[in-house]
Symmetry: C2
Subunit: 144 residues, 2 copies
Amino acid sequence: MSSSTATDAALASSLRISVMRLARRLRAERVDTDLSISQLAALATLNRHGPLTPGDLAAHEKVQPPSMTKLVGCLEQRGLVSRTPHPTDRRQVLLAASEQGKALLREDRRRREAWLSPRLHALGEHDRAVLRQAAEILDRLAAS
Amino acid sequence: MSSSTATDAALASSLRISVMRLARRLRAERVDTDLSISQLAALATLNRHGPLTPGDLAAHEKVQPPSMTKLVGCLEQRGLVSRTPHPTDRRQVLLAASEQGKALLREDRRRREAWLSPRLHALGEHDRAVLRQAAEILDRLAAS
DNA sequence: TATTGTTATACTCTATAACTATA
DNA sequence: TATAGTTATAGAGTATAACAATA
């Protein structure tokens, strides 16, 4: 028997609050890399999923195409993203993270996780194990 | 022996990404209550922590005092927050969630969790148990 | 005619700086 | 003189609507 709907609601409540709270804290802790969260997220998506059209990237990042145009413009201007013509459709373009973009991503991750890592290290091993599993589950939730 | 720093870093990476991703998703899924995330968060804080001065509320919500002034102005205009003079210092004021504010908070939570609850219900009991523990741990992290 | 991407424009949220009232 | 709160103003970030190029 699975848990009751009431229990799901209670979990939904506490989980939502905790996730939003930690997200805000992480956002606040990000160091000065003069890239926004969204720019870094888009760059990371390009790094992970390979070349994408602006439209696909916008869909993946859940923003509107004009927002992605502006966002990608900043990334391109900094040499973090490359732009190549689509092989068969001249309306489209393919965006990809440049080597510089990938390097920045690594460095930025390292710096942004400087807040989180020591706090995880201070937890007990049991709590860390829970979070390792939770990270994967949260990802599935976000993707669903 | 606790885990290595390298393992903490890997967990920090995946956890940060998952949390930020789910937070964005939850934000995107919120229904039309014409209150912003920050307004709801401030209202929830007043509801939870009782009467607070604008300054204390701003500190708690990690925003600057002028931002809180504007934010609270909206809440007050809608009758969601009450404002009473500070008993001993006439410069200060005390903010509190009104009954209407508390009711809206309940209703808003219910509606915003309508996205999350069924997805939690679709998970296995093991995953839910992990998330119950994780929610508490994430809260501790955010508060640290 | 439909689709991809961009430009033009406006709105929301938050910040810093300057100001008012009180301590 | 310092502090609490507000007002004035500006800067990100994202959205919708209108447009250009291509399918």
